[in-house]
Symmetry: C2
Subunit: 229 residues, 2 copies
């Protein structure tokens, strides 16, 4: 339905940087564009905001429509609005970042995405629009936030070993961490519940499994505790 | 100049939460709206984004036009876009927060602002739109960020005593800090330059003055240092 306004308006979109972790490292979900501009180029999933949905609903809808992803942890990242960032016209995009457990989700290209795939964050193709800048900002945010909020658990399976947890931090922060120090700090947080289970199907000695204790974390937050890892 | 589009579009605005510090505590700059909706109510300064300016340029322009403020430290905060946040139509606003040295700036209401004034953040009038939520988010961001980035110096005069610095942190964080610990941590950062000057015109014993050493800070950042206070 066409609409007329007194003054020209920017178009409004959302874009999502979705991160996942597997044995090879940190991955980001990209779609291959099926339409111009940048047809054939890889891009962050996203699209135009509808007038009757919130920005977060728009991000979740576009993710579902273009990649098949549902029920992801999503946070607003930053709004990119430089004139000229889209060759068609002024487009302002509200960027989100999302964290998923890679094994829990299968992805499937749909609507105007030609295909969809996980790419290693350290080996990316040239991206459409300013999506390289958006992705760099999302990686920075993830690196800054993982240390002060327990968002990293979103990337792990529900039950994990301390080695898996350390590997997550080493991968996101891009540097090795001292094993003894890391374990001591992680356990001292008091938000890891030790399970009566060990790893299955591993070649090495099976390690103890833990889970993130959300209730303990909320209680500690209320008591004025600062997460730091 | 009217414009017609295939689909209806949201209007795009910017809003600014500008903080300043004086002897009475933390202040925020509000304008009294001269026009509907919410005529007569206090609100954050802001307005519509022009198609040929960046979002940050729009925020700086609106601040200048509505309040006379210029050359402020400004960072993007969050984008608020719930349908219904503006009674007229769908309006998405990119919120910014700014920090100023109160003594350096005089403010002057203009354009569609009836008046402009500094309000104590702990004694605010009812605000227009969802500006109470935007202001709460800005305060949260300031509290979180002041500990991990040296942005607080933007609120202080160029030369300050350690007591002034501690008071800034106590005011922003809303809790008392141990004097000896705070001074030790602040000086250990290695980014405060001790000056050969003391306070002027004070009733108590004049304290040594310091300044934030931007060059030392940049060098330390490059060396992998993490600011924390």
């Amino acid at each position: 339905m066409p609409a007329t306004y007194d003054h020209p308006r920017a178009a409004l979109t959302v874009d999502c940087a979705v991160f996942g972790l597997d044995d090879d490292g940190l991955k980001v979900l990209l779609i291959q564009r099926g339409i111009e501009p940048f047809a054939g180029r890889w891009a962050l999933p996203g699209g135009f905001v509808h007038l009757d949905e919130t920005l977060e609903q728009a991000a979740l809808r576009e993710l579902r429509e273009e990649t098949g992803l549902e029920r992801v942890f999503l946070e607003q990242l930053y709004t990119f609005g430089d004139p000229g960032r889209d060759p068609r016209e002024r487009v302002v995009t509200v960027a989100y970042y999302a964290l998923v457990r890679l094994g829990d989700h299968t992805v499937q290209a749909a609507t105007d995405a030609r295909s969809v795939a996980w790419f290693a964050t350290d080996d990316l193709p040239a991206l459409a629009f300013d999506h390289d800048a958006i992705l760099a900002a999302a990686l920075n945010r993830l690196q800054a936030k993982v240390r002060y909020q327990p968002i990293g658990f979103e990337l792990l399976p529900p039950k994990f070993s301390l080695t898996q947890l350390q590997r997550l931090y080493e991968t996101v922060l891009e540097r090795p961490l001292d094993k003894r120090n890391f374990r001591k700090k992680a356990l001292a947080l008091g938000i890891l519940q030790e399970l009566d289970e060990v790893e299955q199907d591993v070649a090495h000695r099976a390690a103890r499994l833990y889970r993130f204790d959300e209730a303990a974390y909320r209680q500690k937050l209320a008591d004025g505790f600062n997460f730091e890892l």
